[in-house]
């Protein structure tokens, strides 16, 4: 099935974690940190470390190692704490 990463169409398996689908597509950087803008990727894979927070369908701070992939969802890299669809910044 297809989904979108930063506007680009990618293929993945429905139900696998979004993070697994991204890694399978060669995507390593999931977000940038708030102050130093350091790239962060996949680290623990079990919903504990918060390294993989991304924006999914406009919702920031989604742990993509735990979130199942659904058809046509839009995934993008998060910068800092992320912004909601309304543009409000949201604390973690």
């Amino acid at each position: 099935m297809k989904f979108f990463f930063e506007g680009k169409e990618l293929q993945g398996f429905e139900g696998e974690p979004i993070a697994a689908a991204l890694v399978a597509n060669g995507i390593k950087v999931f977000r940038y940190t708030e102050k130093l803008k350091r790239p962060r990727g996949f680290f623990c894979a079990v919903g504990k470390c918060s390294s993989c927070l991304m924006v999914v369908d406009g919702r920031p701070n989604v742990m993509v190692c735990m979130e199942p992939l659904r058809p046509n969802i839009k995934v993008s890299r998060q910068v800092g704490r992320g912004k909601t669809a309304q543009g409000r910044s949201q604390s973690i």
Binding site: K28, V29, F30, F42, K48
Partner: protein
């Protein structure tokens, strides 16, 4: 607000066994797990277990998860999946976040079996994408069939480091080296021998100096260390890798226990801070029980036995002792003692002894 007699937080080997035991004895049980399926980290363990037949020797972790899940499904246990316990409130109330909704659960007894998280180690660039917990590499390969890279450095030669290195080779990832800061290999020889046969160097007295890369890992610098773990100058080696896998131990996932006000004790042999608990797995709070890696880092077999003890004790504190509950606990305790006799059980045994000694010198609630 939802109600239950016994809430089990975490559906790995410890939580599954706790829930099954308590429900079989006759308690009403709710099990909560943040994954879509039960089994915890067993589901990525494609290797066969050791030990005795009664402890699933010769069975793969993923199959043990299925056996236990099937057993659980035969019992009237309520399951809350894709559900994270995000808070403990007084009078044993739990806040649970389940796919965009907040649930509240009031339990008479709570068994925490939240497991452990992977440790990291300090070195420059350790936050770059490409630096993984070894368990994450294992999850990606064994559960989702995804290769996270092509060439890997494994840091740590405990059983997780050794097993995951072998599994990386099976998945077609080239393991350049396994490094170990101690002067000897930490895990079982049988796992180390498998790597040796594949020609993978296991470099003891070596540590990682830094990760190289801008947006992600493109290499690593390793260095030899002396007896005091100080890097020896001019022994640096630069390796071209795109995966740095860290197998440097685990720490109990204990946040909820801190929040619940359980007495916490720092015991390095058990992986850090653990809730004080006695041999019946009762914490300083008489309604709260712990089992598995949360109560001290060990392995799946001991987690299952501790789960049985915690499940039976929770039942007893709720409904009183029965022949069955006594027998389950006696047997589980005897088997635990037997496992911890072995060379690799020594550390946990020492840790648990320290914990019990601690209880003798403090004013903790004593249970029967």
């Amino acid at each position: 607000m939802l109600q239950t007699e016994i809430a089990v937080v975490g559906g790995g080997p410890a939580g599954l066994c706790a829930a099954i035991t308590a429900a079989k004895l006759g308690a009403e049980v709710t099990i909560i797990d943040d994954n879509p399926q039960l089994g915890g980290q067993l589901i990525k363990q494609t290797h066969k277990f050791f030990g005795s037949k009664s402890l699933y020797c010769g069975t793969r972790g993923i199959d043990i998860a299925q056996i236990l899940t099937k057993e659980l499904d035969k019992l009237p246990i309520k399951k809350l999946l894709n559900a994270s316990v995000i808070g403990y409130y007084e009078n044993n109330r739990l806040a649970i976040y389940q796919t965009d909704r907040l649930l509240k659960l009031k339990a008479q007894k709570i068994i925490f079996a939240t497991g452990a998280g992977e440790n990291t180690v300090a070195f420059p660039n350790n936050d770059l994408p490409g630096v993984y917990g070894a368990g994450a590499v294992q999850t990606l390969m064994n559960v989702y069939g995804v290769r996270p890279g092509k060439r890997a450095l494994m840091v740590g030669s405990g059983n997780i480091g050794l097993i995951v290195s072998y599994q990386m080779m099976q998945a077609g990832i080239d393991v350049v080296a396994v490094i170990e800061i101690l002067p000897k290999i930490s895990g079982y020889n049988v796992h180390a021998a498998k790597l040796a046969r594949l020609g993978i160097p296991i470099l003891t007295s070596h540590t990682i100096k830094e990760a190289i890369g801008k947006d992600w890992v493109t290499g690593a610098v390793i260095v030899q260390v002396d007896k005091k773990f100080k890097p020896i100058p001019k022994t640096e080696k630069r390796l071209k890798v795109d995966i740095i896998s860290l197998a440097v131990g685990l720490s109990p996932t204990s946040e909820l226990l801190w929040q619940a006000g359980c007495k916490m004790v720092y015991i390095p042999e058990l992986g850090g801070y653990v809730a004080y608990h006695n041999e019946d797995m009762v914490t300083s709070k008489p309604d709260i029980f712990v089992c598995g890696d949360l109560s001290g880092i060990e392995e799946a077999s001991t987690a299952m036995l501790e789960g049985e003890i915690a499940g039976a004790t929770a039942f007893e504190t709720l409904k009183g002792f029965t022949q069955d509950s006594k027998q389950i606990k006696e047997q589980a305790k005897a088997t635990l003692a037997m496992i911890r006799q072995g060379q690799f059980g020594e550390k946990a045994k020492l840790g648990k002894q320290k914990l019990l000694a601690y209880s003798a010198t403090s004013n903790l609630t004593k249970t029967q």
